[in-house]
């Protein structure tokens, strides 16, 4: 029996090597619908709708895809979603205006920005206890943590700057002036550069994280919100233009303008990098962009006023 069990396990392990990687799922915060819609990216179908109160907007997915943390600005709380069972398994309080959120690579610390203030809270997701209060610029919006867990970058919307914060000390090592009103901020996998979408200057700023300086700026469409990366290229949602601008990361020049749904906000590359997923707030749908052809290949319905501000793809 024991030998048979070991053999079966070996067969299963071998099979797993040959099975295709999971195509992933999109967890979309429907701010108007008070829900999170889960879309299977292989079948391109909605597979679950999870009720989440308080006008959910921001989201952070753990690297292993096991948990999603969702901010609800109207309820001043963060909800913890078990992505496998698709259930809310806990809440914790986040005072002020919780919108931007990020999770440490080990999943043990959540960073939540107070939109109304100048603080980022470091919270233990198990106990809900605030471990540290990190002071940054005015109206901190988007957040991201490097894969080594040692650096937090913050888009300080009303300070027109990026704060670069050492972890775990919470010391702001550098503040870099970028375009006007940076909202979303996205790190490359190595943590070398951070890219902000500068809402009021219609630009994307590229920041060298280690050096703490501005590398360059890309002119993009009207009212950019969030940047996604897929290796060689960046993509930014232009809210008032209802487009995505694709740009070259090496030369920082635009390469294409792609028409998507109306008022695009959240954007992220899928697990295999072949597609980008764009959450359209006004048209209540998800645009699927083929990264090779730089065109929309599918449009999928979502809930009311979806945003997904943050990392929302479960890998």
């Amino acid at each position: 029996m024991r030998a048979a069990g070991v053999a079966a396990a070996a067969v299963l392990a071998a099979l797993a090597l040959y099975l295709p990687a999971r195509a992933g799922e999109a967890f979309v915060t429907d701010q108007g619908g008070n829900a999170v819609t889960v879309v299977d990216l292989a079948t391109r179908k909605t597979v679950a709708t999870i009720p989440v109160g308080g006008k959910p907007a921001g989201i952070a997915m753990t690297l292993d895809g096991a948990r999603a943390y969702v901010t609800s600005p109207s309820a001043q709380m963060v909800s913890t979603i078990d992505t496998a069972t698709r259930r809310v398994i806990g809440h914790f309080a986040a005072p002020g205006g919780p919108l931007g959120i990020a999770v440490a690579p080990d999943g043990r610390t959540i960073y939540v920005a107070d939109w109304y203030g100048t603080d980022v809270l470091a919270i233990d997701p198990e106990s809900g206890q605030v471990r540290a209060r990190i002071t940054v610029g005015r109206s901190p919006s988007g957040l991201a943590v490097t894969r080594d867990g040692r650096t937090l970058v913050v888009a300080d919307r009303l300070s027109d700057a990026v704060s670069i914060v050492d972890l775990p000390s919470g010391h702001e090592r550098a503040r870099v002036t970028v375009g006007a009103h940076p909202f979303g901020i996205t790190l490359d996998p190595a943590g070398g550069r951070a890219y902000t979408a500068d809402v009021e200057s219609d630009s994307v700023s590229a920041v060298d994280v280690a050096a703490g300086r501005l590398v360059g700026t890309v002119k993009v469409g009207k009212r950019p919100y969030v940047v996604a990366l897929d290796g060689a290229r960046g993509y930014v949602t232009n809210e008032l233009a209802s487009t995505v601008t694709a740009f070259d990361l090496a030369t920082l020049t635009p390469v294409a303008t792609i028409h998507v749904g109306d008022y695009p906000e959240g954007i992220e590359a899928g697990p295999d990098g072949r597609f980008l997923y764009v959450v359209n707030w006004d048209s209540d749908d998800l645009s699927v962009i083929d990264a090779a052809s730089l065109s929309v290949v599918a449009t999928l319905p979502l809930g009311d006023s979806p945003r997904s501000f943050g990392t929302f793809i479960r890998r």
Partner: protein
């Protein structure tokens, strides 16, 4: 509506770049709340899209909106240059409302209002799209899509500057205009 906007790409992209160049550093820092409101009001009128567009399709003509007394501004219907100042019959006024995109063939235009006094309209970051689409029987659907934040930028808004107040104020301008269009074309098909 999404497909209708696709035709507008090149112009809006250029307009965005130009606005960024011209406007860099000149805009005051603005704050708003974290939850944007979406309000879509629509009406079916007894006239073709061309006939409706002839009434509502000029960015500088809001004579079909009962709340508006007068509109002034340069640039015609060119998104690169058009701006309008809107005078309300109530005495309120807002300036520098931009034309974000315009397509007469598709019967659609979009607007963006960077700043308005909350005593005039209790909103922030107000944008809109007017869309006219054909319906069966020679009729049209006029849809007025609006997006805005409440007038109070910080936590715990007073009642006259909360989300409900913003929605009420926008509805009070848009709904009578749409009702007026319906009445205007009633029995004229």
């Amino acid at each position: 509506m999404m497909t209708r906007r696709r035709a507008l790409a090149a112009t809006t992209w250029l307009a965005g770049g130009l606005a960024a160049v011209l406007g860099a550093g000149t805009r005051p820092a603005r704050a708003h709340g974290p939850t944007r409101q979406k309000l879509v009001l629509s009406v079916v009128v007894d006239a073709t899209p061309d006939k409706v567009w002839a009434v509502i399709g000029n960015f500088h003509d809001l004579s079909w909106v009962p709340a508006v007394a007068k509109v002034e501004g340069p640039g015609g219907n060119d998104p690169n240059t058009a701006k309008r100042t809107v005078y309300l019959k109530s005495g309120g006024v807002w300036h520098d409302e931009e034309l974000s995109d315009y397509d007469a063939r598709e019967h659609t235009y979009g607007t963006f209002l960077p700043h308005v006094d909350v005593k005039v309209l209790p909103v922030a970051d107000f944008s809109s799209h007017l869309d006219v689409t054909a319906e069966d029987g020679g009729k049209s659907k006029v849809a007025w899509h609006t997006a805005f934040y409440r007038g109070y930028p910080n936590n715990n808004p007073p009642p006259d500057l909360n989300e409900a107040a913003a929605i009420k104020a926008v509805t009070a301008i848009c709904q009578p205009a749409l009702d007026g269009l319906k009445a205007r074309f009633a029995g004229h098909s």
